[in-house]
């Protein structure tokens, strides 16, 4: 029997251990859903806020000197004797940011939360690369943010995988908090797009301030709350007796005696925590999804996220 919260699964060392070939082929048919329309950098497959050269009609506007005469609607000119230009929707690429919480609390659980997040990020990033989105990966903890930016196209999959394999969790007492990390992350991020935030959101000082920094940038934020089975049901995973619980991030010890009453209280606290996170996200126009690391990755991507409209 494994010790409580210790992963029995070895950490992935190869890219195919992060994302298997079977799942990869299924992911190629999926795409990230964005409820907002963002301006892109280059021509792409997403509808842009800009008017462009696509075949989709967008609007009319009066002709101004210098406009391209190829877009003048001559039928209107014949009827109204005025020059109007036909405007078409522009299709550009989407900016997909995937931010992974690498704090010490993520390197815990069986299956390990950080490992699960790396796999999940690999899958989501692959979906972005397949759909010619600009994929950026970010790792953040109390010590700061480090990123892999501007990946585009399937051929960047290996580069993305290597970066994720190298992603390590921070030391136990790395200092700083979620809000500080989100502030740093928000200031360093360029452009707007879809931002998927992978974290357990277990922050003693609260997560509201951090979410406020993210929400202020105008990104479409998806919060994936990753929880280990030991966090969801401690008693069923071997927590019992008289214990001194030590926070892996050094936020202090708690002495407990595992009793049904305590477990009920913990469960209630966890539900409250998740509910509060969900409410904060909703208030800021963010979407929230709780993911358990014991759940199969394909089921999360193909079923849970599709049902919630995060992936199509």
């Amino acid at each position: 029997m494994s010790r409580f919260g210790t992963s029995t699964e070895p950490a992935p060392t190869r890219i195919d251990q992060l994302l298997g070939g079977g799942l990869m082929s299924k992911l190629e048919r999926l795409d990230i859903v964005s409820r907002k329309v963002f301006s892109g950098k280059i021509h792409g497959e997403r509808r842009s806020r800009r008017r462009g050269t696509s075949v989709d009609f967008a609007d009319y506007r009066p002709y101004s000197p210098g406009d391209d005469l190829r877009f003048v609607d001559w039928n209107i000119y014949a009827r109204l004797d005025s020059l109007f230009l036909k405007l078409f929707l522009e299709e550009e690429d989407l900016s997909l940011g995937i931010a992974i919480d690498t704090s010490a609390s993520m390197d815990w659980g069986n299956p390990n939360k950080l490992t699960y997040c790396r796999r999940l990020a690999m899958a989501l990033g692959y979906i972005g690369l397949v759909n010619h989105n600009r994929v950026s990966l970010h790792g953040f903890d109390g010590g700061g943010v480090h990123s892999l930016r501007m990946l585009r196209g399937k051929r960047r999959t290996r580069e993305m995988g290597s970066w994720l394999l190298d992603l390590k969790a921070a030391d136990g007492d790395a200092g700083g908090g979620f809000a500080e990390a989100m502030k740093t992350f928000a200031l360093s991020r360029r452009g707007r797009g879809v931002l998927i935030l992978l974290s357990d959101f277990m922050e003693p000082t609260g997560i509201e301030e951090g979410l406020r920094f993210l929400g202020g940038r105008g990104d479409e934020v998806i919060c994936l709350q990753v929880l280990a089975p030991e966090e969801v049901d401690p008693a069923a995973n071997g927590l019992s007796g008289d214990l001194r619980l030590r926070d892996v991030e050094g936020h202090g010890d708690v002495e407990i005696t595992v009793t049904p009453a305590l477990l009920r209280a913990y469960r209630q606290r966890l539900d409250d925590h998740c509910g509060r996170l969900r409410a904060d996200c909703a208030r800021r126009g963010m979407r929230h999804l709780a993911v358990h690391t014991s759940t199969d990755l394909e089921a999360v991507l193909v079923e849970s996220m599709r049902q919630r409209g995060l992936i199509r």
């Binding site: 409580f4 919260g5 609390s105 993520m106 815990w108 659980g109 939360k113 357990d200 277990m202 922050e203 003693p204 280990a228 030991e230 966090e231 927590l239 007796g241 008289d242 214990l243 001194r244 619980l245 030590r246 926070d247 892996v248 991030e249 936020h251 202090g252 010890d253 708690v254 002495e255 407990i256 005696t257 009793t259 009453a261 305590l262 209280a265 913990y266 209630q268 606290r269 966890l270 925590h273």
Partner: protein, 659 residues
């Protein structure tokens, strides 16, 4: 279940249980567990701590086990006991009183001895019950005691052996003397072999005494570490009237008549009227109604003094020997003291030889006795007869201020000259002696006033261990009796005629009469001191006696043919009553019976069972035999406590992960 010290346990529990709980509050040993975040746990425990301060104690298996162990200790301190079988795992010695008073029938129609044996049997069953509550290493020894003690069964763990040994215990009519039994118990409780290092030098044994408590020698005895349980058998108030003594005499002037004297004792607290029957050879001759006064208790000593009454049957003619029995025609609790018997031999006149250097006083006295024949001779004439081997023609010899060259083979009286024997050794002379004391109950001094005797000069002698000082003077013995080659002799260390004022007193004649009668009729029932149980039966039979067979009052027969007829001994005597020693004289072929009357010790007639026995300063209250016995449970509680502690230790190590 009973608790011996419940309050001690309650106090201990009141002190220790809160202390244990307090220690748990103060210092609960916890194992450390790393978690991703204590955020939720912290808020959860804060809520619970606010609502339930004892929450941390709930479902704490270690605390539960420790409380359980503590509870077991408290239970052990409270000394629980359950009714039932099983011993303490040690050595137990059963002391069974089989004295005469144990013959009282006051236990549901059975004798006290029967009840004691039954109770002892139940005790053996309890000690060797086996099973969960049975002792596995019980060892029990059985000692039966009356006048003497004997080991009926040495230490053994076999219940069957013990029960068989119990069945072999027979009643005795002796006194109840426990000192020998205690000494035997101590000897067998001691490990004499220092090589047996696994056993202590002295193992204190548990003694269980089955008795009515009428034990005569308790004074001066103490327990030396042994624990004694007194299981009383019998009641404290029994109805008993006894024949205290019986004696018979042939009147001096009418030797063909027999006069019987009876002493009766009433041990009841009320006056008793009883019929006393005199039987001769089994035929009732007389019946006298006697009123016996009530017994009284001496307020100083607390002893019961029986109401006594002496009865004399008028002389009746009895030319030949006869068995005379006196019986109380009244049923009471103790039957063995309701009758007494004795044998009166046929009248016999003595043949006496007087060896004297022509002195007249002793001769005159002897001539006044009623003798068959008196032969007076000089020392020289005696030596000639002695050399010729014809000394056996006399029953008694009297040496008047002379000493023979060799000890005579017939009982003799030596007056003033030391007999040639190693039984007395003369080492000097003392002058001017007065009598300090005399053995007044000795037959030779019966009716003799010895106080006025003044001895001018006497031999100073040292008697052997077989010699008995009958008269003690201010400078040494004045008169002794001793036995030489099976014959008893009397020796006065002074010459009564020349060296004392005795000739001027009446006592000299009476003494000579007593001495001749005593020595001449020694062995006759009429004059012999009656034997008590525990003593040895000794008979001096003719040299040609063969085929010696002894029959006890209970009818048991013992063949004593291998013994020397000159000194036949058998003992210890167990029962009171007439013991018949039959033999055949090889010369004439005549079958002869010799009787010994054994009397019941009078103290055994006081048969009221005692409530307690006192050994030294220790009073041991009686427990009725068959009363409920309890088995202590505290060892089990201690054992349970240890087991629980072991389990607690194992769980503790599992929890902290050292295993």
């Amino acid at each position: 279940m009973m608790w011996l010290t419940p309050w001690t346990g309650f106090i201990l529990a009141a002190c220790t249980v809160p202390l244990l709980l307090l220690l748990y509050f103060l210092k609960l040993r916890r194992s450390t567990q790393v978690v991703s975040s204590t955020l939720l746990w912290l808020s959860s425990t804060e809520d619970l701590h606010a609502n339930a301060p004892f929450q941390r104690l709930r479902r704490n298996i270690l605390l539960l086990l420790q409380l359980l162990a503590l509870l077991m200790l408290v239970l052990a301190v409270m000394q629980p006991r359950i009714e039932g079988a099983g011993g303490s795992g040690g050595r137990t010695i059963l002391l069974i009183d089989r004295s005469a008073s144990m013959q009282v029938r006051d236990v549901d129609g059975d004798t006290r001895l029967d009840a004691a044996l039954e109770a002892a049997s139940a005790e053996i069953d309890r000690l060797h019950a086996g099973g969960l509550f049975g002792g596995g290493n019980e060892e029990t020894m059985i000692i039966a005691f009356a006048e003497t003690a004997e080991i009926v069964q040495p230490f053994t763990g076999s219940r069957q052996q013990l029960q068989d040994a119990l069945a072999g215990i027979s009643p005795s009519h002796g006194r109840s003397l426990i000192e020998d039994a205690l000494n035997l118990a101590r000897v067998y409780s001691t490990n004499p072999n220092p090589e047996l290092v696994d056993r202590p030098i002295a193992e204190a044994a548990s003694l269980v005494l089955f008795s009515d408590g009428r034990i005569q020698d308790l004074e001066g005895l103490v327990l030396r570490g042994e624990s004694l349980v007194f299981q009383r058998v019998g009641e404290g108030d029994v109805d008993n009237v006894s024949v205290a003594h019986v004696a018979a005499e042939r009147p001096y002037d009418r030797p063909s008549f027999v006069e019987v004297f009876v002493g009766l004792a009433n041990w009841n607290s009320s006056v008793v009227v009883a019929d006393v029957q005199l039987s001769v050879d089994g035929i009732a001759r007389r019946v006298e109604e006697v009123e016996l006064p009530a017994a009284t208790r001496d307020p100083a000593s607390g002893r019961l003094e029986p109401g006594r009454r002496n009865l004399t049957f008028t002389p009746f003619q009895q030319d030949r020997d006869a068995v005379i029995e006196v019986a109380l025609l009244r049923e009471d609790a103790l039957a063995v003291d309701d009758a007494a018997a004795m044998v009166v031999p046929p009248p016999r006149q003595l043949r006496v030889g007087l060896v004297t250097p022509k002195r007249r006083l002793v001769r005159r006295i002897m001539e006044g006795l009623s003798l068959q024949r008196l032969d007076v001779m000089t020392p020289e004439a005696y030596e000639a007869v002695s050399d010729a081997g014809r000394v056996g023609n006399w029953d008694v010899l009297v040496f008047d201020a002379v000493a023979p060259r060799a000890m005579p083979t017939v009982p003799s009286v030596f007056l003033g000259r030391t007999p040639p024997t190693d039984q007395v050794r003369a080492y000097g002379e003392a002058e001017g002696q007065v009598v300090l004391g005399g053995s007044g109950d000795h037959p030779v001094l019966r009716y003799v006033d010895v106080d006025p005797i003044y001895v001018d000069r006497a031999r100073q002698v040292q008697g052997s261990e077989n010699a008995e000082v009958v008269l003690e003077g201010s400078s040494g013995p004045l008169m002794l009796t001793f036995v030489h080659q099976g014959r008893e002799h009397v020796f006065t260390t002074f010459d009564p005629i020349a060296e004392s004022n005795w000739p001027y007193q009446r006592g000299l004649g009476v003494f000579l009469f007593n001495a001749v009668e005593y020595l001449g009729h020694h062995g006759d029932a009429v004059t012999r001191t009656q034997l008590s149980p525990g003593g040895a039966l000794v008979a001096h039979l003719p040299a040609d006696a063969t085929d010696l067979v002894l029959t006890t009052p209970s009818g048991e027969v013992f063949d004593l043919s291998q013994q020397d007829p000159a000194r036949v001994s058998w003992g210890p005597v167990e029962l009171s009553g007439l013991h018949e020693l039959r033999y055949t004289r090889s010369g004439s072929g005549e079958a002869v019976s010799w009787y010994e009357s054994v009397r019941l010790p009078q103290v055994e007639s006081d048969a009221n069972a005692a409530q307690e026995v006192v050994l030294g300063m220790q009073r041991i209250e009686s427990t009725d035999a068959g009363a409920v016995r309890y088995r202590p449970l505290w060892p089990w509680a201690i054992g349970m406590c240890l087991v629980i502690l072991l389990i607690e230790w194992w769980i503790y190590n599992r929890k902290i992960g050292s295993w």
